[in-house]
């Protein structure tokens, strides 16, 4: 999909790449992590909440576009959604459990954890918020998410537990 999105540059093209009709950019994963680390240096723990809140907003925004463009809903949507984010290099879904009261997502190759380096705490706050935002749009559920395992911490995968709070 990425190869299809990025034709061989000629130098004459407009500086715009569109995906699902919306402008997207190609950003080095390390650049995102540089931004996160810079904000963490400035704000400490506040940065975790900031990236989490930003993730909620981003997840809701993306899911709205995907729901508008794709025909799938519910579980079928989530399957397609997982494949989509694998194809654009964000993560690889290992396991996803959306049926229980407490939902769980396990991923590998988180672009944040992979680039972050070693950490004694989970680092994928943006993704945790992103899942909350997506589930809010897809299932109209008010959830909160904690990352219980993170590969940056040495865990075998990143695990996110989502639970209802309203």
């Amino acid at each position: 999909m990425v190869r299809r999105m990025l034709p061989k540059p000629t130098g004459d093209e407009e500086p715009e790449i569109k995906l699902l009709g919306r402008r997207v950019i190609v950003l080095r994963a390390g650049t995102f992590v540089d931004i996160q680390k810079s904000v963490e240096n400035l704000l400490g723990e506040e940065a975790q909440a900031l990236f989490y809140e930003a993730g909620i907003r981003a997840g809701r925004g993306s899911a709205k576009v995907q729901l508008e463009k794709w025909g799938e809903r519910g579980e079928d949507f989530i399957k397609k959604w997982g494949k989509f984010y694998t194809s654009v290099g964000w993560l690889k879904i290992e396991k996803i459990n959306i049926n229980k009261q407490n939902k769980q997502i396990r991923i590998k190759k988180s672009f944040i954890a992979d680039e972050y380096g070693e950490s004694d705490k989970p680092v994928c706050h943006f993704l945790a918020g992103f899942f909350v935002g997506v589930f809010k749009e897809v299932f109209s559920e008010e959830l909160t998410c904690e990352e219980t395992m993170c590969t940056a911490k040495g865990d075998p995968c990143c695990e996110f537990k989502l639970e209802k709070y309203r």
């Binding site: 400490g44 723990e45 909440a49 900031l50 989490y52 809140e53 918020g129 909160t144 998410c145 709070y165």
Partner: protein
Amino acid sequence: MLNQLFGPSIHLLILDHFLENPEKLMNLREIARATEKNPGSISRVLPRLIKAGLIKQIKIGKATHIYKLNTENEVVQLIAEFTEKYKNLKSKQEKQPGNGEENAPQTNRR
């Protein structure tokens, strides 16, 4: 108050809410509702306020906690005194003719 003066910051938003309700015991969801944030955001910043001794964490179940302003902490007492004096100053400034909104601190609540 602190969030308006020094923020915007989720730490200050939480602290403000506890300062306005110094005797109230609150769980994570109640704090989230009052500050209009997701509980996940609150759980990410609350440990720092607890570690600093500003908020007390009280265990009420196997994995359930409630939280309260640590009114015995001298720093909390100083902050409470400051916010009270600041409120009085602000209301005095607002009552002065020609010293209305234009002199009020920027409000930037997140």
